[in-house]
């Protein structure tokens, strides 16, 4: 009996397929160990920082052989079908890691400035990134759920990391409560789907549905509706966006940048994979729902942003409306739509981290960001103002920035798929969005000394430190290059979505 138990079959593991996740998780564990073993040494934080960057860079480096292997020999399915490394997953993994490294750079200077240095912060960020990376390649509803939790739980803590500020605590709590809620909904969706199809593997579900006719569709439909809702929370689609403004506004700004870019990429990876791999046959059922989600997200995201007086909150709403554009690509349900969503996610990551990067640098200790505080910025901080103007214009979709190429892609996909109305809603939402971006831009041009009595704290000119400067330069350069010569990126996105299922 004992021998039989020892023979318990364990699935084969393709180590290359999971190596990036291992690198990230390993770095996080190392940092925690370092913190636990070496106490009160000044070297702990710098070395933790070094380990964190090394971990992300190694993980990023491992994506290259993955990509080559996938492109030449097709997708790698491993761990009994739990993970499926394909072009799509590797591409979005790249987006996650790019966002992580940029957010880490931002955080490094932010933590020092705010006196929040802690190796824990870095470890949590790496753990969260591990979850995100796993999510981009997870090919099973259970694996997706595990990845979702691994990415979420550290984020709850990170959002509340600035304990001195009540808003940060509020952000953490709100994010936690609603995040847990959405996880529960997702899990219920998994259960119902399993009930209807007898498997949690995405490929398995697709095969089951292709081979069998489900007579009583109610359970299945409810199942994937709940999956849509659960993931809808994570991508902050309206009406599941209520946590976003508070969490984004209250969280330390580098965390916000991380949440807005990397989390969104990971959640979209899962969303696209679940619906396009497992339920392609039920497209007629989910497409209208996604249509409504996209339209609502676009409209509410941009209209609500107009009403904000806090720049960080405004950016939170604008990130909601960006999710709407990506949903347009998803809704199209075509290869062109998937490609457009990928391009959008990468471009959006650069634009949004760039914007939040400027905001991080401008934030005072109290982290207030009302539009009034930005008044006259172009005179006081011409370089930062220039960067922010560029990123805001890019988010507005002005041509020759990546924002335009990204939006062009999703609109083209929508028109190609015949969703003219959604395309029109999208473009009009872009017009509304332009309005609130311009409001910030204009505030920066207005001289502050002229307005008597407005609360404009005279802030000392802040120097741009090396890390943040690098983030801004990289993000701006990438946004510009994508806008002017998008060929390479579009080709990469095409290669990433080329294949049988993806």
């Amino acid at each position: 009996m004992i021998l039989a138990a020892a023979k318990l079959a364990t699935p084969n593991v393709n180590w290359l397929a999971v190596a990036p996740e291992i690198a990230l998780a390993g770095a996080a564990v190392l940092i925690v160990l370092l913190r636990a073993l070496v106490r009160r040494s000044r070297l702990v934080y710098p070395s933790a920082l070094f380990i964190a960057f090394a971990g992300v860079l190694v993980a990023g480096g491992l994506l290259v052989p993955q990509w080559n292997k996938v492109q030449n020999h097709g997708a790698i399915t491993t761990m009994a079908g739990m993970m499926r490394v394909d072009g799509f997953g590797v591409f979005l993994g790249g987006v996650v890691l790019v966002s992580t490294v940029l957010a880490l750079l931002l955080a490094a200077s932010y933590l020092e400035r705010e006196g929040l240095e802690g190796p824990e912060f870095l470890a949590l960020m790496l753990l969260s990134a591990t979850g995100m990376l796993a999510m981009t390649t997870a090919n099973d509803l259970i694996a997706i759920f595990v990845a979702l939790e691994v990415l979420s739980i550290p984020l709850y803590v990170l959002a509340a990391f600035d304990r001195r500020r009540l808003t940060s605590q509020e952000a953490g709590l709100k994010y936690f409560v609603l995040g847990a809620f959405s996880s529960a909904i997702f899990l219920y969706g998994v259960a119902l789907t399993y009930g209807a199809t007898g498997t949690t593997s995405l490929t398995g579900i697709a095969n089951f549905l292709a081979a069998n006719t489900v007579l009583d569709e109610g359970v299945l439909l409810a199942g994937f509706a709940l999956l849509l809702v659960g993931l809808g929370f994570k991508i902050a689609a309206v009406p599941f966006h209520m946590w976003t403004p508070d969490a984004y506004q209250g969280a330390p700004t580098p965390v916000t940048a991380f949440m807005a870019s990397a989390t969104k990429a990971a959640a979209f990876a899962a969303l696209l994979r679940v619906f396009l791999v497992a339920f392609p046959l039920y497209r007629d059922d989910w497409q209208p729902a996604v249509w409504v989600l996209a339209a609502l997200t676009l409209i509410v995201g941009s209209v609500a942003a107009v009403m904000q007086t806090d720049v960080k909150r405004m950016l939170a709403y604008s990130s909601i409306s960006h999710a709407g554009y990506i949903l347009i690509g998803f809704q199209a349900g075509t290869a062109r739509g998937r490609e457009a969503a990928l391009v959008y996610l990468l471009t959006y990551a650069f634009m949004t981290i760039g914007s939040f990067g400027v905001v991080t640098l401008l934030g005072a200790r109290d982290d207030r960001h009302s539009i009034g505080d930005y008044r006259g910025l172009s005179g006081r901080q011409p370089v930062l103002a220039g960067f922010l103007i560029f990123f805001l214009l890019a988010q507005a979709g002005v041509p020759l920035t990546g924002g335009f190429i990204a939006k062009l892609g999703v609109f083209a996909a929508a028109v190609d798929a015949g969703s003219y109305a959604l395309a029109v809603i999208g473009v009009l939402a872009a017009v509304i969005a332009a309005f609130f971006y311009l409001r910030v831009v204009f505030a920066m041009f207005t001289r502050s000394d002229g307005d008597v009595g407005t609360a404009t704290p005279a802030r000392a000119a802040r120097t741009i430190d090396l890390g943040s400067g690098a983030v801004l330069a990289i993000a701006a350069a990438a946004t510009l290059v994508i806008g002017v010569v998008p060929g390479t990126l579009l080709q990469l996105a095409r290669d990433a979505t080329f294949g049988r299922l993806f």
């Binding site: 041509p399 062009l408 028109v415 311009l438 579009l490």
Partner: protein, 519 residues
Amino acid sequence: MSSSFPVLTAIIATPFVGALVVALIPKQRPELVRAVGFAATAATVGFTGWMLWHFKTGTAGMQFVERQPWIKSLGVQYLLGVDGISVFMVALTALLFFVGLIASGSITERLKGYTIAMLTLEAALMGVFLGLDLILFFVFFEIVLVPMYFVIAGWGHDRRQYAAVKFFLFTMAGSAFLLVGILTVAFLHQGDHHRLTFDLGTLTNWAPDGLSTGTSRWLFMAFFVAFAVKVPLFPLHTWLPDAHTEAPTAGSVILAGVLLKMGTYGFLRFSLTLFPKASVDLAPLLLVLGTIGIIYGAIVAAMQPNLKRVIAYSSIAHLGFVVIGVFSLTTQGLDGGVFTMISHGLTTGVLFLLVGVLYDRRHTYDIAAFRGLWRVAPILGGLFCAAAFASIGLPGFSGFIGEFLALLGTFLVHRPYAVIGAAGVILAAVYLLWAFQRVFMGRPDEATAAMPEINARELLAVVPLLGISLFLGMWPKPALDRIEPSVKALIQHVENNSNYRQPDVAKRVVRRAIAGVHK
């Protein structure tokens, strides 16, 4: 320079490179900023002159064509070309920016940013008139908004934020439909030919037969909204008086002289070519809106207490002539429309420059603030008088040729509109001469008496424009010779693709009609 010299790229790139160079100059060196600004605009004028010199008359096709793939996966090309319809818009743009920078001598605050914005704006506008790939055109069409927004918001007058945002949102809302329209045309073409392209030439050959009547009408309307906002056509015009009034002088010159023409140019270049049948069917709508523009613009202009607003509203009226000329769909009407586009750029440019001269001295546009200025500043008065007459369309100035041809073309096929439109010419005399009388006639009051005469720099900006207007008014042949082949080909294209036939009389060589008038 050889004939393969990419002159069109040079025309777009020169101001852009100028903007980059200016960006590198420290802001403590304003004289360098100015010098680079002048050099870039002057070089653009030079390249444009070279292009005009080598422009072949008597052919309708695109010249100096440049073609490079840009976004391969979407089939977007970097495709430039110029024909009789766009060649003078390019020349006008080059000229007005050169003059505009001369006239910006009074701007000292943040000169560097201003120069960068103006040069970027010039590059983008050149791209609009030269781009022959629909996406490329749209890219430039949208980029124009950004520097123009900054020129208004950064260097405008009191209500500049309101004006700048309104301008941005109106035009961007219009182009929203344009983008969806462009994508729809391209993807429907792809459905037929399995090749995604935004090449205007390819789509022009396909669209008239490839699109059903209903679809092409929808698409015509989508393009129409974008262009109508730019023109602007009643009732989408409300951004214009605000933007014109609040913009700095050179901004107003560019807005009126070049930006508005993006709309009428769009009708000529895209609406008539891609949707000829829908254009014929929906022409009455455009004729009505154009005529309303002529009369409404003139009446509202007459009521304005603000001199700059008078000229702003007069633009609505002038552009109304362009629209009815174009949608009369006759050779003469189109000739007149294109000619008025040039002429309006020159004369309205002069008027805005002169109003800017007044503003620099008195910091007000209020008509009531001035009286008897002619006695104080006779040269200024004389120039304003000449400019007003040029704008009204007095024979001998370019305004006459253009509006006469536009009305003539319209009269041949749609008599009522021409009759009502002609009344607009009289109303133009009412508002401009009345304004002129209030500002320049009578005995000068105290404040006016202290005003200095126009200076050499300001003269340098104004005189060339007025001179060209006079030249074209006296001898329009060089311009018409270049415009007409393209216009004829365009009408031919519309006729080939619809039941519409223009009356034979409208086809007559336009020169004869002009000669008849001058007898």
